[in-house]
């Protein structure tokens, strides 16, 4: 598992531009958001903190689904499946490597957001950072699973709007879920990102965290493990 994590990180380290994009894009978007809401600073302060925790989710989904697809199409996955490497060790290696990247991303975006841009989180910026890493791992595990259904990079990229956007639209970030119709609320409750958003908004707003915060994070962790399990099931030693 460590060997795979080290290998994945080495691969990414060599690709400086990807590292720069992973760290720079969320910060750039946050700054952009700040100026979009220049005349409504209170809206920015309300929307931006949860966003700090949601960027890593979307980016990691995309990066992971492409990385795994490359492993499948380059023949290296077939090679690995003929070697004494267990599937959990392979997926765990990916999770570890991308977890490290997500941590880097979360630290940078939270530092910029909570110091330079003057955001507040009622329960501490560090909690937002930790939730961001958790959300990144959720995005990663969904990306791993989704990559099994893509034959080409074109298809893999399309999974981002197909799987990530509906979750972002319904999670409550753009409109409060209470204002949505009953069926939409039911759909939102089925998406893991909804719970990730709820945990983030509880962490950034005053009030006791309580049992519902624990439940939200438990759902996110559970969904991550289920997606990793499903991802492992799509890795076949024998292929047709």
């Amino acid at each position: 598992m460590i060997a795979t994590a080290r290998r994945v990180l080495w691969q990414i380290r060599r690709d400086r531009r990807t590292v720069a994009l992973l760290v720079g894009v969320p910060v750039g978007l946050l700054v952009l958001l700040r100026y979009v809401f220049a005349s409504q600073p209170s809206t920015f302060k309300h929307v931006a903190p949860p966003m700090c925790g949601l960027f890593p989710f979307t980016l990691m989904f995309l990066v992971t689904s492409i990385a795994m697809l490359r492993e499948r199409t380059s023949g290296t996955l077939e090679r690995l499946m003929s070697l004494p490497l267990s599937k959990p060790a392979l997926l765990g290696g990916y999770a570890l490597a991308f977890g490290v990247l997500a941590a880097l991303q979360a630290v940078v975006v939270c530092t910029v957001g909570f110091t330079l841009l003057g955001l507040d989180a009622a329960h501490g910026a560090w909690l937002v950072g930790v939730l961001a890493i958790g959300n990144a791992l959720l995005g990663m595990s969904l990306g791993l699973f989704a990559s099994a259904f893509a034959r080409t990079e074109f298809q893999a990229v399309q999974f981002m709007p197909a799987i990530v956007f509906p979750q972002l639209l319904l999670c409550g970030l753009f409109a409060p879920r209470g204002a949505m119709s009953g069926p939409l609320q039911a759909v939102a409750r089925a998406f893991p990102l909804t719970y990730a958003f709820d945990a983030l908004s509880r962490a950034t707003h005053p009030g006791r965290l309580g049992g519902s915060f624990v439940l939200d994070t438990a759902v996110v962790v559970g969904a991550t493990l289920v997606a990793l399990g499903l991802g492992a099931a799509t890795l076949r030693r024998r292929t047709p």
Binding site: R6, R7, G75, E78, R79, S82, R237
Partner: protein, 250 residues
């Protein structure tokens, strides 16, 4: 060289490393291998020769246990293909070099060594074995096609497998490198490694101890270079192969 008497009794080899009985493989609704049986002898270089698309890669994938098969048995070292314990004993090189293009030669080998549990000292050894010392620190992406093929081969050698399945390992290599690689294969066989090497070029048949001639998913002949020459009366192995094909169609 071609006059050695042992060449005439290929099926009587002492030990069989790979045994296939009535293998049937269907890919995408097409029967690629209808009913194939063969044996590969231990410690020898066996050439799997046949035109592109005849099913060589599918057969090799079945042997290393990554191919879904429709029927028959494939046994390697007495165990069923795909058995988890075989993963340490079998080395497999796919037709396209399957290594990480964004890592250096050494980094690739370090990864495959740790996955297979090979000691780090093997990394330098296999790099020397495929004559890539000068390129060890280079990113695979920046290497030539022939060098990449050799990196791919090195990653399969790192855990000292008893059986090596090489899918067209010399394709696109210059003649000098080909000779060197065949020399390396001979050395491995001399050390007891069983090699199954596919090629679509009959020039390479002469380098093998045993030959399996394949066409349309079937083995036309299991012979030796000398045996093939003797049975067809052709000195040129390419012509001899054609003679076997004609014989099978007649």
């Amino acid at each position: 060289m071609g006059r050695r008497v042992q060449a005439r009794r290929p099926t009587l080899s002492a030990v069989t490393t790979i045994q296939i009985e009535h293998l049937r493989v269907v890919r995408g609704g097409r029967v690629v291998i209808p009913d194939l049986s063969l044996e590969v002898a231990a410690g020898r270089v066996t050439g799997l020769l046949g035109p592109s698309g005849c099913g060589k890669s599918t057969l090799m994938r079945s042997i290393v246990g990554v191919q879904v098969v429709a029927g028959g048995t494939v046994t390697i070292l007495g165990r069923a293909a795909g058995d988890p314990t075989l993963r340490r004993d079998v080395g497999y090189v796919t037709q396209a070099p399957s290594v990480y293009a964004d890592l250096t030669v050494t980094e690739n080998l370090r990864y495959f060594a740790s996955v297979t549990g090979a000691p780090p000292s093997r990394i330098g050894e296999v790099i020397a074995q495929v004559a890539l010392q000068d390129a060890a620190g280079q990113v695979v992406d920046s290497l030539s096609g022939g060098q990449r093929t050799r990196v791919s081969l090195a990653t399969a050698l790192v855990h000292r497998p008893h059986v090596l399945v090489l899918d067209e390992p010399t394709i696109g290599l210059d003649p000098i490198l080909r000779v060197e690689l065949w020399q390396a294969f001979r050395e491995l066989a001399a050390n007891g490694v069983t090699l199954l090497v596919s090629s679509h070029s009959m020039d390479e048949a002469a380098e093998c101890d045993d030959l399996l001639l394949m066409r349309k998913g079937a083995i036309l002949a299991a012979t030796t270079p000398a045996g093939l020459r003797a049975s067809t009366g052709e000195n040129d192995l390419g012509r001899a192969f054609l003679a076997v094909v004609r014989g099978s169609e007649a």
